[in-house]
Symmetry: C2
DNA sequence: CGATGTGTTGACCGGGTTCAAACAATGTGG
DNA sequence: CCACATTGTTTGAACCCGGTCAACACATCG
């Protein structure tokens, strides 16, 4: 993995359970992303950058000028309140854009931090805009990326506001696995490069609660811990996660719906 | 103004400690917005629409084709999970755009509902893109709006994950008042066109908790209920709300920070 | 080896939910 | 005009999920 030169593994990884074929990832998982990256490569002067776990692509308050696209690896986004509270606000996988928040007021509003060795493609925003004049597909790409980010943020909110702690963790793992699957990466054996504290921060709960939730998920065989360490885990069936969320919606502190 | 290189001054994000004089809204509150609306008017064929409280501008699942800009009134955005949970995901005031979430996959992902009599300007997305070729300022406008929406969503997340129920309500009222102030509307006497249940849904708590929180805020004289009804209230000093949030950060179930 | 960072688990506590009752505002029809 | 229903708000009391505090189990690394 992490072979930076060789882009898509060209893998045609068919989803695990044949059941959910329709909702599943297309056979050509990651094809769109590969295309998008190619388009960028062909129309823009790109600055490629290799980074390691913990490296920062940009920081909150820094002058905005560039947008960034993940070529490999995973990044986390961290925002801060005026009084210094910090918040893991999201994750960006291959093909995702970073830095949109800087457009409005000329400064980035958050940190973007690599979670493992990764490659990021950067280019000036104004250069991008110029290129968009000649390549409308490029503009479509940008808008789709922003649109998806908005939608994703709302899904986050929904999960946060309507799910119990256990369900939230399950839903997070589902999201994570699906993000990987959509890019043609394996999901049956994943390594979270996050501490429990970070997961908890993102999900609005304490690390102990995350730990307990994951233990419970493992007990119910919705996930399984790999041999070595509790950081890497297996997700035999993504639908099992979905069902767990659904199940925990019925019984408990349930419906925070209107009426 | 609105040039790509020199973005908006942005009212927000000034050091916390500063007394609210300098963070206050410019005398020309709403000037940017007025300019933006004018630009739209001058460069696009716009369909103006008058709507009443409860009217829907677009619905989740509906085919995407138009973007919308609030000209007057306030709109709420409601998203749904696959299993039908509904979630108030945000509010849009004068000058705010709506419908970005539809760009990525060709269908709106949420409902946009008027909260009172309002006017909304709508236009086709493809028409907008064409106009952007000749009027780059227009494109800058669009991007700034999307950028702000992303930033705002993250602020929401931050508030949700790190604040107690009381502080969350206070922070919500601060946000609401500032949104009005930034558009030159009065903030000392505002009418929430939301039920407690809706506020609670947005903030991830039950209506009873919202009610109790507001009672407490009134008891501490951070807000005051107007004579008639508990729906309209006065906010004598926005900074008092900020201070309340700060205060409740110290004592209680406080820091959900990392480490 | 100890040191440090991370994860797990238990016991206790408290903030927020749940359930319930009463009240306020508004509207409807006789 | 009042009786009455409806919808929204407030407040109390009991309960419980998730936070807090603490002890321990493992890693990895010097």
């Amino acid at each position: 993995m992490l072979s930076i030169a060789a882009p898509t593994p060209a893998v045609v990884r068919v989803p695990h359970t044949a059941r959910h074929v329709d909702r599943a990832v297309p056979q050509t998982a990651g094809a769109h992303i590969a295309e998008a990256l190619k388009l960028l490569q062909d129309t823009l002067p790109i600055q490629r950058r290799l980074v390691h776990a913990g490296d920062t692509i940009y920081q909150a308050g820094e002058r905005f000028g560039c947008l960034h696209v993940v070529h490999s690896g995973i990044f986390k986004i961290i925002t801060y309140s005026a009084d210094g509270r910090e918040q893991v606000a999201g994750f960006h996988f291959k093909g995702d854009w970073m830095g949109f928040d800087g457009i409005a007021n000329g400064r980035y509003g958050c940190d973007a931090v690599a979670m493992d060795t990764a490659e990021v493609w950067s280019f000036r925003y104004d250069t991008l805009l110029q290129a968009c004049v000649e390549h409308p597909e490029l503009l479509a790409l940008v808008h789709a990326a922003m649109s998806r980010e908005i939608t994703r943020d709302r899904d986050s909110l929904l999960s946060l506001c309507t799910l119990s702690a256990d369900a939230r963790v399950a839903d997070f793992l589902r999201y994570w696995a699906e993000s990987l699957a959509a890019r043609g990466l394996r999901t049956d054996q994943i390594t979270l490069r996050l501490t429990r504290a970070e997961i908890g921060n993102y999900l609005g709960m304490k690390l102990e609660t995350v730990s307990r939730a994951m233990s419970r998920l493992a007990r119910e065989k919705v996930i399984r811990f790999a041999e070595r360490g509790r950081r890497e885990l297996q997700i035999p069936d993504i639908d099992a996660l979905r069902e767990f969320v659904q199940r925990s919606l019925g019984a408990p502190a349930a419906s925070r719906t209107l009426q």
